[in-house]
Symmetry: C2
Subunit: 348 residues, 2 copies
């Protein structure tokens, strides 16, 4: 049976959890999915790098001491990302470093090095997909390898592949989504009576919001996801500057209460729409929607996208939009999709 060798680039929550899933459920996955997974390289800013073509001991890597690096386990204190990615024997590179919303680096380079050296890539990183997606997809196609990134939009909840595979034969002419759980949670808490700052602090205490909540509250995170969906699913050819962006930071409890009196509820909605002439307009904006609106009932940290299709009208999917396990599953789902689509070129 086929075994895919993986390189894990960035060994934070997502790739650590993928490694845990492989360690604890690998045998079950093997028999269920028809392929095995083996980790042959790991790089990480703190831990350095480790390359073992015969397979890394995942338990060792997961339990490495706070004062240790991979140098203490036969590897290097340096990440050596370019050398590791280009020359390791991995078939698939799992890129899960931090999102850089400005130029996508260093993840863009990680993806490029992998594709150039004939390795398939799965990533949960919005940066490379939003800012360099079409270019990297073309590079993958030119090298006969896969580039999958389901986790860049709603973690493991299927959105991109759902629309591409399950809606075959339909025309999608637009979508509306709640694509950021933190801001949706904050709006819900404001509806319950908190003011914006208190709601943000609560979200931070719960681990939803970052110390700097601007990416969530100002809509920047949603903007990247709207850009990805517009280019992937509407065939748009737009850049970040084409996606208008307003967050929820100017909303007051008074706005929330006034809306409630009119049977409306504020939601931060990312949307895109193809007009009759084919042009795609896309943006992020707080909208007071009627309670009967399909996104009105999406509460807490849940995310959702409603696609407008020609033959079915609106079809919506909702589920988690974040989380360690949920995002690690996105990588696994990418690998499953590669396995089913065509041969993943081997580098063993």
């Amino acid at each position: 049976m086929k075994t895919y060798d993986l390189a894990l680039i960035g060994f934070g929550g997502v790739n650590r959890t993928l490694a845990e899933i492989i360690a604890t459920r690998g045998d079950a996955l093997h028999s269920e999915l028809g392929f095995g997974l083996r980790v042959v390289a790991i790089t990480d800013l703190r831990l350095g790098s480790l390359v073992q073509a015969e397979g890394i001991d995942i338990d060792m890597a997961l339990n490495i001491g706070a004062n240790e690096t991979f140098a203490d386990h036969g590897g290097s204190r340096d990440t050596n990302n370019e050398a590791v990615i280009r020359s390791c024997t991995a078939d698939i590179v799992c890129e899960a470093t931090f999102t850089n919303p400005d130029d996508g680096e260093p993840a863009v380079s990680h993806v490029r090095w992998a594709l150039e050296s004939g390795k398939s890539v799965c990533t949960t990183n919005k940066g490379p997909v939003a800012l360099r997606g079409p270019e990297l997809s073309a590079l993958a196609a030119g090298n006969g390898v896969h580039f999958e990134f389901e986790g860049a939009v709603m973690s493991g909840t299927p959105v991109i592949r759902l629309a591409k595979k399950m809606f075959a034969g339909l025309k999608i002419d637009g979508f509306e989504g709640i694509l950021n759980g933190t801001s949706n949670y904050v709006l819900g808490r404001m509806e319950s009576g908190l003011d914006l700052d208190a709601a943000i602090r609560e979200a931070q205490d719960l681990g939803y919001a970052e110390a700097n909540p601007a990416a969530d509250i100002e809509g920047y995170d949603v903007r990247l996801k709207v850009l990805i969906l517009a280019n992937q699913l509407l065939g748009a050819d737009i850049t970040l500057q084409d996606v208008s962006c307003e967050g929820i930071s100017s909303l007051t409890r008074d706005d929330i209460e006034q809306a409630a009196r009119k049977g409306l509820r504020w939601k931060l909605i990312g949307s895109a729409k193809r007009s009759k002439n084919g042009a795609v307009t896309a943006g992020v904006k707080a909208v007071a929607v009627p309670l009967a609106h399909e996104l009105a009932g999406i509460s807490g940290a849940t995310n959702a996208v409603s696609f407008n299709t020609d033959l079915l009208g609106p079809v919506m999917v909702s589920g988690p939009g974040a989380g360690r396990v949920e995002t690690a599953y996105a990588l696994l789902s990418d690998i499953i999709a590669m396995h089913h689509t065509s041969e993943v070129p081997s580098h063993a």
Copy 2:
């Protein structure tokens, strides 16, 4: 390029609309999907049957006069279902006759004749899938052909294939769904102040409810769908008698109002759950759910299923659950799935 020859069994709303889609969008589908579609046989209780291996003129069939039958166009006044299904040159039989909730006939026989004669089948008919699904799937597998039935649950909204394909690697241990648009519409109107009978009459006027609304109101329609989903997605091996069933006919406006005062909303929910010992329990029941429940916001005639998964928690899909065009698309989506899965055996 591949062309699939179709036999349309039952030429009512669904198969007529499939024929319209082929006639009006066939060329676009051809270039987009990589295959063509041609109708080589039609049978219908009123119109009789017509078999033309070189392709039936769809415009003629769609515009046949109220006093005409296929006998006036080179066919027969008789349906001749067994002979047509067994001996026509179709690659795929599209079964869209009426649902018989007792024994699934005559649709079960239609499907069996097709599979036995080496033809693939797609159907939107709940009867054969709910009552004879595993047996017919085994017959298809034994004959090397396809048996697809996405439209039997939520018309064109992907549910069965979504769970099977998009949730690969996940364990689904249960689902809850709103699987009947008529009863959901009626509950919404009762919340707006109508009593049950008035709400049903309104649903009938809008074309949602049948003259005899029992299948919708008593939960029988949902029961068939729960049976299908439990057997298909939870690996249950249960029959209709194993699915408990209570409808909404005993609900009064007072029940609705009392629930509303407690922040609850009545929904007719079909569900199934796998217990720790592997047994699956399934049923249909009106439940007063909290407004924050993910199914609480599913309004009007919309349907939805929320799957409980191990790695993602609840993931929900919602969309139309009925409609001529929506259900015809389900057949098209079945054909697309066959095309992508493996070769569809040819009978030309």
